[in-house]
């Protein structure tokens, strides 16, 4: 029930915020804050025992396996569809990240969204609910359900509160995700139907389908497995995104309002990575292995191409968007390298990138809000006028370039260590990304925060520095990214049991599942 309540609070909070908006435009943000805080407290206090354990050791799951909470009830019994929710270490970490970044997004939206605020916060909370649902679903139908639910509010956020070219960007985002999502639905149904042919009954249950794929005689034939896996893979790599499916991302990020960019970069991209880890690798071990070189190559291309394009951008938000593509390449590389080390790295990268890109977008968004431009040529010398913003901007640019001691460094290095044993050539190429990222990161630092103020800025109007609200939200992000960089072991402890079974799904069935 824990998870169901966690998700429901966000859904209900969204409707509540909408209703509050009809009374007064300033109320919805308080409603949204309240909903997210209640959710953090509620979900957080349930997680405390697990988190305490994971500081020093791997926490055992409540059922003697890696799952901490789970909840199952019938939904559409005719198709064997259950309302099955559960979290293991991986989901738990990502759910906490979701709620945390929800707070950050709320802080970015606080003063920026003045029009139709009730509907905005409704969309914000429903997106968060969809993301939490994705990270917690143990039924493929339910997973798809949440996968789609998250889309519509995000579409509204971009297309109604976005910038000059918002309609086009939102449409592109929606169509890319929806069409690839339908391919995934196709793949899910094919998988389920195959299982039905074997066993005579429909089920969308994750564990049943997983155990089916593990037994020698019942698993999919090699060729069908490859096709079905391709359906999942496509949906997840569009969301991730990996080159060549990345073209929606720069547009969507650039055009979205700040809170939208924060959620997109921090959370929505992670749902793709999560899908790869949770579904593609365990469900299709052989096919994923066969396909790994292709996927890893895509990852490396994303790293290099994303970094190169990032450097070429004049638009600050667009630049950060391309760096996201580059960083997500590491995740693709790590997931398909399929060694424990690389997977740990991929997950740390997910969390670290979630935090650092959210922070960078929050900063870029606040700059746009203050300067009314995203063009880097129009900036410069900001550290003199707005020192707090500039300091934070520099800090997170450095985090993004992979400075040791900050989260991103751990993620990228672990991925490279892990992948080297599997595919040295691709890993060497990927390591070039570590050279390219300082180039664009330093470009941000030099051109935006240092140097001479541009003619655009000299026209004299006063720019406000970060307010105390923004400083609090930034401080939280700073603490999080330093903690990840200095002491990543608790997180590794937390997610490790989950990774063990990703690499060796058999282990999940050794200790009987409790639900």
């Amino acid at each position: 029930m824990t998870l169901l309540t966690t998700i429901s609070i966000l859904f209900v909070g969204g409707i509540g915020a909408w209703c509050l908006g009809r009374i007064d435009a300033r109320l919805p943000r308080w409603g949204a804050l309240l909903a997210i805080l209640i959710d953090i407290v509620y979900f957080g206090q349930q997680c405390v025992p697990v988190l305490q354990l994971s500081v020093n050791a791997m926490p055992p799951g409540l059922y003697g396996n890696s799952w901490f909470f789970s909840y199952t009830t019938d939904w559409i019994p005719q198709f064997g569809i259950h309302l099955a929710l559960g979290v293991d270490g991986l989901s738990l970490a990502l759910n906490l990240l979701t709620l945390f970044l929800g707070l950050v997004a709320l802080s970015s939206a606080w003063d920026e969204i003045v029009e139709r605020s009730g509907f905005f916060y409704f969309n914000l909370l429903w997106t968060l609910a969809g993301v939490v649902g994705i990270f917690s679903s143990l039924d493929l139908f339910l997973f798809f359900f949440f996968w789609e639910i998250m889309l519509i509010p995000m579409y509204f956020i971009i297309s109604l509160w976005g910038h000059e070219n918002r309609v086009h960007a939102a449409l592109k985002f929606f169509i890319f995700t929806q069409v690839s999502g339908l391919l995934m639905l196709f793949a899910i149904i094919a998988l389920v139907y195959f299982n039905k042919m074997q066993t005579g009954s429909y089920t969308f249950d994750y564990f049943t389908l997983l155990s089916q794929q593990l037994s020698e005689e019942n698993r999919l034939p090699e060729k069908s497995a490859l096709w079905i896996m391709a359906g999942f893979f496509l949906a997840f790599t569009v969301k991730l995104p990996a080159v060549p499916f990345h073209t929606w991302l720069p547009d969507a990020h650039t055009q979205a309002p700040t809170a939208g960019s924060v959620i997109l970069a921090g959370l929505l991209l992670k749902t793709g990575a999560y899908g790869l880890i949770r579904f593609v690798v365990p469900l299709f071990p052989t096919a994923a292995h066969t396909f790994a070189p292709v996927a890893m190559t895509m990852g490396v291309i994303s790293i290099l191409y994303g970094a190169k394009l990032a450097y070429a951008q004049q638009d600050l938000k667009r630049l950060i968007a391309y760096t996201s593509i580059s960083h997500m390449g590491f995740i693709l590389l790590g997931v398909f390298a399929a060694s424990a080390l690389a997977l740990q790295g991929a997950i740390l990268q997910m969390l670290a990138h979630g935090i650092s890109s959210a922070a960078l977008f929050a900063i870029a968004g606040s700059l746009q809000h203050r300067l009314h431009t995203r063009n880097i040529d129009n900036m410069g010398g900001l550290s003199a006028t707005i020192p707090r913003t500039a300091a934070l901007g520099i800090f997170f640019s450095i985090a993004a370039l992979g400075m040791p001691g900050l989260g991103n460094f751990i993620g990228e290095t672990l991925v490279l260590f892990g992948a080297f044993a599997i595919n040295p050539l691709l890993t060497i190429l990927a390591a070039l990304g570590l050279i390219l990222s300082p180039i664009y990161a330093l470009k941000i630092i030099q051109r935006v925060f240092h140097g001479e103020p541009s003619a655009f800025l000299k026209n004299g109007h006063k720019i406000h520095d970060f307010s105390s609200r923004e400083m609090v939200s930034m401080a939280l992000l700073v603490i999080a990214i330093i903690a990840l960089g200095v002491k990543p072991q608790p997180v590794i402890n937390l997610v490790n049991p989950a990774l063990t079974y990703v690499l060796n799904p058999q282990s999940i069935f050794i200790s009987q599942i409790g639900h």
């Binding site: 889309l151 639905l185 196709f186 149904i189």
Partner: protein
């Protein structure tokens, strides 16, 4: 010919509908009161629905060789009657706001419903044709029903008339094709009973006679279902007819025909010619792509919905093709395809009814605007949410449901079609379905976005032309607001918890396979 009590009860819904259409006619002749006539019609439909309920529990009854009353026909009769009841309510608010002699519309509404009910119960070419003609002839007059303003009577009622004539001519041709097709099949099998035809076809290969006959019947049926390339009339007629009539045309006329075709597939067991399967596949692909592509550039919402309904017919055909391969595969009769068709029909009817219901409710609010046109232009919907939040939200739900987005019934319907397609390995068709849905998103999202847009400077020119947008702050009748909300609620409910409906449909489908 002898008809016993059991059979009489079985056809009670048809008898009651016929009786009520006579009562309504007599009543209208002597005492013209719009509210009374509408109420009487509504009562007649609800009464007939009660008759269906009486019958629904019992086993299949063949009433002469013409009609077959079983759970299948009861299900679709109930669907038709419920839909008609809702449409009656829409008609009432819509025509109340307009001048003229509105009472006759309800007679036509009842007779058209009789035709539809006969259609879904028919087991014989004769009753098929009769039902279709009763339905079509009533629709000719309904489509062309004159709509005049309360204040300005000089407005021409030309658009409905044009639409009516278009529908009359094309429908006449399609009926002729259908009749000729039937004649061919009759010539080959020397029977008009659908079960007997099925038997005859499975025993003897009749060759080209049957293929030619079926091809002609498909074109006749394709017209009613507005499949590409028989779709030309659809946008014009949908646009021209008064909104509630369009709702009737899009829901009842289509679903009754779909139900009949579905029954035909079941009864004509083993009915399978490669040429036909190919033909139907091509029609399905053309409808899915054509409907969606043509909808992209529409600025009239009724036209847009017309093209969208063409593409939905294409989606249903995918499930039909799956029924085809499932029926022929007698080793394990997979009923999922049949369920998929039925579920999608319900989905389509509910979604379309809601969408056209919104248009007709909005159009009934412009009574003091001295014009009778329907609120169906794209600009009428700009920023509708900020003026009429409830109606706009429900309209959004209907559009999302058309697009097959979760939380709405449309998603479950699409899921069902996917499941059916996968079970019959119709990969190409499913790929086209995905592409079609992708294209569909463009216009659905464009419209949804328009609903939520705030007014900006660039719209103000349009606003001047469509003064209605600014002016429609008149409160909608409470009843129709509730009705719209209820329909929206149903879309959500069946999208989130479809279990009961699936159970009903599964029970109905299973009863067809003894």
């Amino acid at each position: 010919m002898h008809i016993d009590l059991e059979q009489l009860i079985a056809v009670l819904p048809i008898i009651s509908l016929t009786t009520f259409s006579v009562i309504v006619m007599l009543c209208a002749a002597f005492y013209r009161r719009h509210a009374l006539i509408a109420g009487l019609t509504f009562f007649g439909i609800v009464f007939s629905l009660a008759c269906v309920y009486l019958q629904s529990g019992s086993s299949a009854v063949a009433v002469t060789s013409l009609l077959m009353i079983d759970r299948f026909s009861c299900f679709f009769t109930a669907l038709i009657l419920v839909t008609t009841a809702v449409i009656t309510l829409f008609c009432y608010t819509y025509f109340k706001a307009r001048e003229g002699l509105q009472e006759e519309l309800y007679i036509l509404l009842l007779t058209a419903t009789v035709g539809a009910v006969v259609l879904v119960s028919s087991a014989h070419f004769a009753s098929f044709f009769l039902g279709l003609e009763i339905l079509s002839v009533s629709l000719f007059a309904m489509v062309a029903y004159p709509v005049t303003s309360l204040t300005h009577s000089d407005h021409s009622a030309s658009t409905p008339l044009e639409a009516g004539i278009k529908y009359l001519i094309l429908s006449g041709i399609s009926s002729a094709m259908l009749a000729l097709g039937m004649a061919f099949i009759f010539a080959a099998t020397s029977t008009m009973d659908i079960v007997a035809i099925g038997k005859s076809l499975s025993v003897v290969n009749h060759g080209y006679y049957v293929i030619a006959g079926v091809a002609m019947m498909i074109s006749g049926i394709g017209f009613k279902l507005s499949l590409v390339p028989f779709h030309m009339w659809t946008p014009d007629v949908y646009q021209g007819a008064p909104a509630p009539v369009t709702a009737f045309l899009a829901t009842i006329s289509k679903s009754a025909m779909l139900a009949l075709v579905l029954r035909g597939f079941i009864l004509l067991e083993g009915f399978r010619y490669d040429a036909i399967v190919w033909g139907v596949s091509i029609i399905a692909i053309a409808s899915m792509l054509g409907g969606n592509l043509l909808a992209l550039k529409q600025n009239n919402i009724k036209r847009l919905l017309a093209y969208s309904s063409i593409s939905h017919s294409g989606y249903i055909l995918v499930a039909f093709l799956s029924v085809m391969s499932a029926v022929s595969d007698t080793a394990h009769p997979d009923q999922i395809a049949m369920e998929a068709v039925t579920y999608y029909i319900v989905t389509y009817v509910l979604t379309t009814l809601t969408a056209f219901g919104v248009i007709s409710v909005l159009s009934s609010a412009n009574l003091n605007l001295k014009e009778t046109r329907d609120i169906d232009h794209f600009d009428d919907f700009q920023g509708l949410y900020w003026r009429r939040p409830v109606v706009a939200s429900v309209f959004t739900l209907a559009l999302l449901s058309s697009a097959g987005i979760p939380l709405t019934i449309g998603f479950i319907g699409k899921f069902y079609i996917f499941a059916a397609g996968v079970s019959s390995a119709l990969w190409t068709l499913l790929a086209v379905l995905i592409v079609g849905s992708g294209i569909g998103l463009f216009y659905y999202l464009r419209l949804i976005l328009a609903l939520f847009k705030t007014d900006s400077a660039e719209d103000s020119v349009q606003k001047a032309i469509y003064a209605v947008s600014a002016n429609d702050t008149i409160a909608l009748p409470l009843g129709s607001r509730w009705l719209i909300t209820a329909l929206g609620g149903l879309i959500l409910l069946l999208g989130i918890y479809p279990t009961p409906l699936i159970a009903v449909i599964r029970g109905m489908v299973q009863s067809l396979y003894p």
